[in-house]
């Protein structure tokens, strides 16, 4: 199933330059520019938890789940729009596109846009791995559980997905969709 999913289709429709830029985000060697399987596997790998990845097929992690993670990052930012159906890949992707557009409009240049997207990835990591559990337990628990928190942080940072990479690739995949849409308009 996954080999026919949106990630594969989008990569198949991408130009060489687009795949090259995705490889750069994923820190993949240039020699993989035309290797869609490798790009897909790496993208899913950086998007998933390391431990979970061990038990998964390289192409098993769903694009929808990656989009949900991306949405979770965005929802902690100032651009959160709560009305979204998290069960539909296309709807979620469209909504993310709207959010990215808002970020771009607000930041006004692509460098700041990149920083903003990058910070969405950071917020997500900090919130869910460290602040979340500590907040529930309260201040006292926080002090008592400090060693556990540190350990969790260390383990978490090792096994957690690389959200920044994952976020940027999602942005690129959405951008490919925009380019394909523009091509359709040119054909009219």
């Amino acid at each position: 199933m996954p080999k026919n999913d949106t990630i594969f289709k989008r990569l198949e429709q991408s130009t060489q330059a687009e795949r090259k830029s995705i490889c750069e985000i994923l820190k993949l060697d240039d020699k993989y520019t035309n290797n869609i399987e490798k790009i897909s596997a790496e993208f899913r790998s950086v998007s998933g938890h390391t431990v979970a990845n061990v038990f998964r097929d390289p192409h098993e992690y769903k694009y929808l789940d990656i989009l949900k993670d991306t949405w979770s990052g965005v929802k902690n930012s100032n651009y959160f729009n709560p009305k979204v159906d998290l069960s539909k890949e296309m709807l979620l992707e469209n909504r993310l596109e709207v959010v990215f557009d808002s970020i771009l409009k607000n930041t006004k240049n692509t460098k700041k846009f990149k920083d903003e997207i990058s910070s969405c990835g950071s917020i997500y990591t900090v919130t869910d791995v460290v602040v979340g559990p500590a907040g529930v337990a309260g201040v006292l628990t926080k002090l008592i559980s400090l060693p556990i928190t540190v350990a969790t942080t260390v383990v978490g940072s090792v096994t957690a997905p690389s959200y920044r990479k994952s976020f940027f690739v999602v942005v690129k995949l959405i951008e490919i969709k925009r380019r394909l849409r523009a091509e359709e308009k040119l054909k009219d």
Binding site: A17, V171, R179, L186
Partner: protein, 331 residues
Amino acid sequence: MEFSIPNEFIAKMASGEYIRYGTLIKDSLSGKIIGHVKEVGMDSLLKDFKIPTNPLSAGTEAIKVVSGVVQNFQLKEMKQLLESMQLVNNIGALASVATLGVSVIGFAVVTKKLNQLEEKLDVALEKVDRVLEIVQNLNMKQEVLEFAEVKTASEQLHNALFTEDSIRRKDLLTQANVTFHKYKNYYLKIAQDKSIWYDGQLPLEVAHELYARYITCVMGQLYSEFLLGDLSCFRESWKVINREVADISNIDKIKMLRSKSDEKSFELFATNYDDLVIQINNTQKILLETNHRIESMDYEAQYLLKSKIEPFEYLKELQKMDNGLVLIKAN
């Protein structure tokens, strides 16, 4: 020759009964040519086109000038396209409009403008990195010399329209023809080598600039050939040029879009696809318009051959008329 004012057919064009193809007016149902449009009078509409003081500024000077002058449907259509491309303030765009004016008289006006164009054009081009690189590669001094030659040819063409000495006229036209022919091929080669429409690094307005230079030389060659009076030779040149123009004007829109987006692929959300789609569609319209106008030029030569009218006499006749456009009805 039978002339009639455009008002006669404008209503039919508005209703869709007649359609325009380049400079030809055709019956939309039968495809029959009704006539061809000519700009007449020495105070050409194009004469009022001004060269903006700063070709790269976003000022409205040129836009206002164009708005005030453009009264006819042909230039109006081009104006709208150029405006949407934000090219009206670009020196090359003005050259394109002037060059695509429908008469030889229009080209005489372009000759005068070339004095101003010479300086402004290079300033405009120099400020764009990519073109600067191209110009440096080609050797800047050589570039200036080449442009001076084109300007000389334009002046020769202009003078040929006024001299009463037929031998002198032939001499001037022959020299102008050789120069325009040479530089037509020169700019064509640059355009082909640089794949102007598919070079992602080359700004679209600069591609239009190079294209305008090429078209200027194309028109110069055809006009000088036309005025020399050897219509058979004119038609042979036209055949070659028509193929070349069709080739360079026929763009692959998808390839063009990808070249632009690929250039920015290492940035995120850097391509404004809505704008790019509009620009590409408008570019195609401008190129098609140019292509159609050149394609329809042969009709005029055929008309003169059939009517046994000397090209130079024909132009003299047109010069005597009041400024504006006329429809020359088909035989």
